[in-house]
Amino acid sequence: MSGVLFHEQTARQRIAALADAGSFVELLAPPERITSPYLAQLGIPVSFDDGIVIGHAKIGGKKVYLAAQVGQFVGGAVGEIHGAKLTGLFKAAARDRVPCILLVESGGVRLHEGSAGEIAIAETMRAIFECRALKVPTIAVIATDIGAYGGIGILSTCCDHRIMTEHGRLGISGPIVIEKWMGKKAYNSADRALVWKTSGGKTKYLLGDADALVHDAPEAVRDALTKLIGKSKPVNLGSVKARQKELQNRLKRFGATDDPNVVWKGMGVRNIEAASLASGPEFAALAKRGK
């Protein structure tokens, strides 16, 4: 129960914990001082990595490209520099045929930098699919409550694999935006249990949008990565047709309910209370996903 929690680590600590000791080499490292001119003009503090640490490392002796977003810095949001670092990394991964891992922690586009971040996300999506066409595995790790939202939520679903923890959240619109739009009755953003059951790792795992649900610990994330960095998921006619069917089926089964517990039960969770308290593989065992 105690120990280092992945969701409490900083981006740099996460990388240090996942990579083989001493193997991480940072690209565009802080001494280069590549900082956002937009934020500087607006009088907002800048950061030497612009909210994303990128580089290459070894995991279990195998070379990987790694990016870690810094959620505390402007919500991990994507500006021009941040986005270009991300695009460049996936392009390098495609060029070198090296798996690419993104430790996601971002609310999406950095509004302070306008459309530049939006285009950067679109460019990164293209780069991710470049990797996938070459069978270079791409993995998104979504394991913090800042999670993957907005354009980064969509981008995360473009990767081959998603590893999540119960703390991770994956979506497009956040609870506060939805509450403003639909009203507090439809979505009370302060109801944390409902928020996590709507967008949290457990629900995403049950529905099949997360490939692995792991404990909130760096070792657990590393184990899951080790299993997945050798595997790519093809994008072919068979795979997209199967997915089309799956998503249609999901909409048909659950489109009429607004109660996440109905989804949980539908996806094989018998004891909701016990499953709510369980974590990682223990949850998965209680769930018998999709049965």
Binding site: L27, L28, L42, E80, I81, G83, A84, K85, T87, G88, L89, K91, A92, R95, L111, E113, G114, S115, A116, E118, I119, I121, A122, M125, R126, A127, F129, R132, A148, G150, G151, G153, I154, T157, G171, S173, I178, K180, W181, M182, A186, Y187, K197, T198, S199, K204, L207, D209, V235, L237, V240, K241, R243, L247, Q248, R250, L251, F254, G255, V263
Partner: protein, 246 residues
């Protein structure tokens, strides 16, 4: 909250302008467009949105289904994507069911089409903002916009409301930073749009030419640098590629 702005031009009029008489075969159902048409005598597949509608899980699936249909039945037929959508509607059930994954799926279908030799051309015809633009339109080989289209992240007023930075400050900065400005022209300066088509243009001819000249490499960062709207992105990307090659 603001509801979507009312349509300016009818969806049919826009389609007619782009595809002439062949536009009739394009179905419009709940503001989602699917069908086939012809451009310069060649067959094209059309998917898109109209009337500034919201794209939900179901709409994403219908667009994806049509792309799959095109791949299966009409190999290598260019796909024209029309964008007039206010984005995704903030909705709890949509989120619970994984709207992001529905969008990701649509992108996967388009990627498959590209790999199988379909050219992908986007024309932003109305609203092209936020997630709706990201989930298919911005994924094209080449992206164009009608000059009447509203393209970009969000208007300065909305940006100001969320960031709590006074609109006047953002307005002033946008003079030197086109990224902050909202519209097709500044978006083109960033390289996000290849070209903006004006009311006077023969858009059918333009579209025909766009299809003919499109290549699948992503040229937006180059364009953004050349046009001066996005000065950093390309160099930073190059730097990453250079440092990682050491």
């Amino acid at each position: 909250m603001k509801k979507p702005t009312p349509k300016k031009t009818s969806a049919r009029a826009v389609l007619a302008r782009l595809f002439g008489a062949s536009a009739k075969a394009i179905a419009i159902e709940k503001s989602v467009l699917t069908g086939y048409a012809s451009v310069g005598g060649g067959k094209v597949c059309v998917i898109g949105t109209s009337n500034g509608t919201y794209i939900d899980n179901e709409a994403a699936l219908r667009l994806a289904a049509h792309v799959i249909d095109c791949i299966e039945k009409n190999p290598k037929t260019p796909i024209v994507m029309l964008v007039d959508s206010a984005g995704q509607e903030p909705n709890r059930v949509a989120e619970m069911l994984g709207l992001a994954s529905y969008f990701g799926h649509l992108l996967s279908c388009l990627e498959l089409a590209r790999r199988k030799g379909h050219k992908l051309i986007t024309v932003a015809t109305g609203q092209a903002v936020g997630g709706a633009f990201l989930c298919y339109g911005m994924f094209a080989d080449r992206i164009y916009a009608l000059d009447s289209a509203t393209v970009g992240l969000m208007p300065i007023s909305a940006m100001s409301a969320v960031t709590k930075i006074p609109a006047a400050v953002l307005q002033k900065l946008s003079k030197t930073m086109p990224s902050l400005e909202f519209g097709a022209a500044p978006f083109a300066l960033l390289g996000g749009v290849e070209a903006v088509w004006s009311a006077k243009d023969d858009v059918q001819a333009k579209l025909e030419q766009a299809i003919a000249t499109a290549t699948s490499e992503d040229n937006r960062a180059e364009l953004g640098k050349k046009r001066g709207g996005r000065k950093l992105a390309l160099d930073i990307r190059k730097k990453v590629l250079a440092e990682s090659a050491r």
